[in-house]
Symmetry: D2
Subunit: 433 residues, 4 copies
Amino acid sequence: MQPLSHGERATGAARGIAQYFAQVRVRSEQLCEHLPADDFGLQAMPETSPLKWHLAHVSWFFETFVLKEFDARYRPFDPAFEMLFNSYYNGVGRPFPRPNRHLLSRPTLDTVYAYRRHVDGAMQSMLDGGGLPEALLRRTVTGLHHEMQHQELMLTDLKYNLACNPLYPAYRDAELPTVVSAQPLRFVGFEGGLVDIGASGEEPFSFDNEHPRHRYWLEPYALANRQVTNGEYLAFIEDGGYGNPLLWLSDGWASVQKECWTHPMYWRRIDGGWYEFTLHGLQPLAADRPAAHLSYYEADAFARWAGGRLPTEQEWEHAAASRSADEGQFCHPEDCLHPGPGCEQDGIWGMYGGVWEWTASPYVAYPGYRPASGAIGEYNGKFMCNQQVLRGGSCATPPGHVRASYRNFFYAPDRWQFSGLRLARDDAGRDWR
Amino acid sequence: MQPLSHGERATGAARGIAQYFAQVRVRSEQLCEHLPADDFGLQAMPETSPLKWHLAHVSWFFETFVLKEFDARYRPFDPAFEMLFNSYYNGVGRPFPRPNRHLLSRPTLDTVYAYRRHVDGAMQSMLDGGGLPEALLRRTVTGLHHEMQHQELMLTDLKYNLACNPLYPAYRDAELPTVVSAQPLRFVGFEGGLVDIGASGEEPFSFDNEHPRHRYWLEPYALANRQVTNGEYLAFIEDGGYGNPLLWLSDGWASVQKECWTHPMYWRRIDGGWYEFTLHGLQPLAADRPAAHLSYYEADAFARWAGGRLPTEQEWEHAAASRSADEGQFCHPEDCLHPGPGCEQDGIWGMYGGVWEWTASPYVAYPGYRPASGAIGEYNGKFMCNQQVLRGGSCATPPGHVRASYRNFFYAPDRWQFSGLRLARDDAGRDWR
Amino acid sequence: MQPLSHGERATGAARGIAQYFAQVRVRSEQLCEHLPADDFGLQAMPETSPLKWHLAHVSWFFETFVLKEFDARYRPFDPAFEMLFNSYYNGVGRPFPRPNRHLLSRPTLDTVYAYRRHVDGAMQSMLDGGGLPEALLRRTVTGLHHEMQHQELMLTDLKYNLACNPLYPAYRDAELPTVVSAQPLRFVGFEGGLVDIGASGEEPFSFDNEHPRHRYWLEPYALANRQVTNGEYLAFIEDGGYGNPLLWLSDGWASVQKECWTHPMYWRRIDGGWYEFTLHGLQPLAADRPAAHLSYYEADAFARWAGGRLPTEQEWEHAAASRSADEGQFCHPEDCLHPGPGCEQDGIWGMYGGVWEWTASPYVAYPGYRPASGAIGEYNGKFMCNQQVLRGGSCATPPGHVRASYRNFFYAPDRWQFSGLRLARDDAGRDWR
Amino acid sequence: MQPLSHGERATGAARGIAQYFAQVRVRSEQLCEHLPADDFGLQAMPETSPLKWHLAHVSWFFETFVLKEFDARYRPFDPAFEMLFNSYYNGVGRPFPRPNRHLLSRPTLDTVYAYRRHVDGAMQSMLDGGGLPEALLRRTVTGLHHEMQHQELMLTDLKYNLACNPLYPAYRDAELPTVVSAQPLRFVGFEGGLVDIGASGEEPFSFDNEHPRHRYWLEPYALANRQVTNGEYLAFIEDGGYGNPLLWLSDGWASVQKECWTHPMYWRRIDGGWYEFTLHGLQPLAADRPAAHLSYYEADAFARWAGGRLPTEQEWEHAAASRSADEGQFCHPEDCLHPGPGCEQDGIWGMYGGVWEWTASPYVAYPGYRPASGAIGEYNGKFMCNQQVLRGGSCATPPGHVRASYRNFFYAPDRWQFSGLRLARDDAGRDWR
């Protein structure tokens, strides 16, 4: 939704975008090409859409918001798909009910792939043409970042769906890398003051909810050098954290009681040992990996127990703004608890690529925010209520997708994303705990 | 669960049973061999299991109740299947939760077919041997009738699951046969008295819930010559039947209000016309087919509106006892509103093969009933509460599966079976309505 | 709903009925005259109406079905009450929603008593007149038996509502009578055959659902001499009854799991001892009182565990038909485990006045049953689905209200009535357990 | 929870507080002294506690947080009340479940008044003594503001509970004052900049959640001179506002669909006219009163439809900071749409005393916020998630209770408070709509 970067404008850019388009699109299919047909229809809760639906919906996005808007000759693959694969855009029509997506055995997976080919062909023909309006190119890039968001969801949704199977099937058979010991936790101070928050416009891409860039007053604060580990979270459990209401937000304690939470979502206690369900199947719990799949409530309760708090999104962004998004993508969070290449030993590490970090900030509009007009305006703005901002990206986030100003958002009880936390404090000087 | 018929005993019968086994088993697979892989995992409500699960469960039945009990050398295909494909036998262990069957993407469909081959092979080896105990042969025949029950469920469950798809996919592309006008409704009187109810033991097979045969006192009664038609049911609708609480049982009226029922389950009102979703896709409603997919509440309300009542199961059985189960199997109820070959013009027609007929009788044990000991005793007995008996069989019932003493049972609000009704009255003489 | 008895017809009877009317009406008020105003609005679940609502509704019944029908000069106390205090008669109009009865703080209790006075006055004036039609007298007697049913509900509903208060308030402060040891359990045989079931018309009163009297074939059977005791039920618990699915009906086991049942409704386990909440407050559990407040599922599971079964309602009625309803009314079941005055030592005892006895019979219409026309026809008939028949009466049943042919009915999971069981068997000879 | 004001410290103040205590306490009882006993137990949804419970709980607060903490000689009235009348303080013990408060018929209302007398006596004795610690005095004042909050809830809860009665009972029989025409809507601009937000410590009292005072950067903005009226809201309805998903937040639209909202909570459409249920009973809707009983979703959708937005809580507080809280208390919002005495004609009016104004700000901790230690720390902090801030006070707020920095908070779907809105914009210059 934002102007193209200087880089894109410089190259003229339709050719570059066509290439980018091909790369992103093929990656969606690569993510699931090794899976049996049986896996593509799973939907264990309304939030976790079937793989097949994701593959179709991202194509629907290009069909609806690019081809139908910018290409007068475009012929829809099947008119019924407008409703079937609409996620939540009321401006386009009444979407097929989300909880029932797993019931769409038709169109078949083969037909969905044919749909993708149809959309790919139309997009590439269009992008091959000359003199394309910048609005079209910008919308296309938005569509690609939209598809990248769904690539992450394909992994987190599938993980949730497979976890319901007592056979604990693995998404990847490959072994998890060996764990390296986490560095000691340390706090790094920031001075605050009147800072700028939001995308600057120099980024290759940014969503509308990162705008407008605006001034924000920050008091001095400190952030932990790294994310909280499984080992630290286990200490919280062993200290009775799930049984002490004074550590919890009121709504959080209600969730603990109603859902009978006693540990993070994918942890399993078997014969006296702790295990964790991963995309590599059930694995012994590794103390030195980031704690993942926490709800906001759990992250908040842990922080209170640890004598700290969650950072605000502004604190996070200000700290992250000087770092580049260089972390890679894996099937499980790791290797983000240490200074990476180019990181200072006494800095803060692993802002991207481990787990999303819950912040203390509810998801609201920035001052002066205006959503785009038309159905595309429903992309982000209508969700600015009852959700919390997460920052950074996770091991399941596609490479090149995140940045310092990126705002992810989920409901406080949600646990099926790779979500964890980094501690904050009002000052850096105090010892931890 | 009943002694083999004289016929079976006479032939020695293992050879005959082996042949029967092969026929029944192959039929399950034939029912779905033309369907895409996407259809096999559908489960739109807890009651409608996925095709894949049905295919596995009926094999689990032979594995659990025949092979593991009678063949010491048998090796299970996969020990985890004992839990995954157990339906409700607590005596075998804690079954995998029914509402989550659609989440079992693994084992894959290919593996389930391999499981079937494994069980088929073991069964055939065993049946090829000599000197087999009669209990084994009897249990095998029970397993085949169990599989036939699931063949019917495969069709009714799939119909329900496909109906959730706004594309209205057809199970069969073939056209529905032309409808012949229904014969006028007429009542046929029966004298009653002290009659015998329940299986006589002369049947080729019967379930334990049809026993013991016992005396029952019947007052004189009359049954309609044929089942109620769509056209007759439409008159009930047009007379405001769904809006008049005085026609309904108290629980029925609560269902009407809560579920907003205004017509039978698969009827659709489109552009002023009535349509019906069928296994052949969406079709114009045919006035002269039996009304199908009614709940007990709807059948009961219709009967009250029509000035009649539902028959008791004893009235039904006594009337049906002289007729043979000669109706064929279709994908939609038809051709049962006329005297069939060998039927008398002034008799009652189509007791089998159209729609199951709701009776006024709650499903209870016959006097002196004893379920079998062990887990197999859970087959029928533990459901003898809160359900109503249906009699006759439907167009989806496998050939040779039903008989006069056969007792089917569902909850009063259930509508996804091919369930309809035949009117009864205390006397034959009065005019209808 | 049935013709007056010979006795009533003989006396002309309006005078007798006027006296009877006064007695029954005053008793409703006596039942709650010692209670604080705070108790009159309680409704802990939809089924347990507030005392105030009961007091008003029974007056509504006379207003609606007697005064408005038979007295042209009658002026309703307040037209709004027609809707507010209608229980479930759709023929009268749309009733105020049952779950919200506790929200009717207005009319106040004082106004409800004024309403009672208004109805009492009009009824007495009418009954003082001469030449009253028999239909009016019959309807009045029906109204009195209706009020007696609500007198029982006032006690059972209040018991449930008070039980939600951790202070365990007592309805009566008086002490419970001392318990006498129960006589040993013994079975008494009956020959069965073609018997008559249903009210004979010789009873002072009977409801329509006890008609018509009809023939019924009974196989030989045996009934226990007395009801099952707390001590016997405790043995079931201690034997793991609530943890063994093989003892339970399928729906019953689902209730056990969902509701976490581990004992009868009002039992409490405190500091290693068993207590029971009663209308006299929390009391130590008495082994030699009848087990009470069981669901049908618990009664059925106990019977299976005990090697017996529940009797059918026909078996119960046939056995009870020779005994008179002579038991008194108490706040807690007692004194019904012994031969009463005039009882034979080797007979069966305590058919009335202890706890209602669950039978194996679903509540259905007798052959030839016809409900009355008009709204009054909703009294009994529309509930003939999904419920089980209970027989006999309980300690909370008003004196003179029950008889051998009386049919009470509740849903299988219901536990807030004084409901227990008496064991049955197919033959008397076998030893118990 | 905040230090006493200079004024309180200056007077020494125990005497002043004792007087204040008496005034506030008696006011709670005056609010309901004219009501029948029947009204005191009503609870139509978990959030709306019975009057009796409110009367007891506010006494429990003094007992728990003042008397038990500061008076060693204090004897609790009844030890069971510690659990019964605990609202949500887990640090005190496990509270009696909120949804069941209506089931506490015991203690009776008389006993609750005796409880109040007991606490009043103990408090007054203590306050009569000399040399009291400041912490005690501060806690006492907190308890009085706590009781004032419940005085408002007594009115809003009772309104909701009475509204469930089809008789529409009035809390006050007095007539509503005549409505004066609302002044035209106009926007007043503010420059913003780096402002101070939060209580200054000069207020007579403030809650912990108004602290610490901190710097906040505000962009220029404009606020409407007055609150939105019923007439304006009606235009939104007539323009199809409840049928247009593009006007709503995603969660808001879900509520509209699920709850079938088509107008504010207490509006009723009768015979073509609009009415509003008020504490004076059902009244014709007055176009020139503030729109009340809106959810956050409705306030937000209206603002979007009107081309404006909701103000942030910082924008609101900055604008209100110069005005004094001089509005009186009524049973229905009125007289707040005009410049009050001392108001400038071109200023903003009615910030207090009409309806609470929803702000765009989720309820979060101010930077550096620390809740008090111990159970009293649960007062505000644990609710800082999933709720929205409302500012200003309503016609039901006790006099002297609110101020510019006061933060009220409710969930976005909540509608039973007197909640409305004031429009905001980024700039004052544009015309409205």
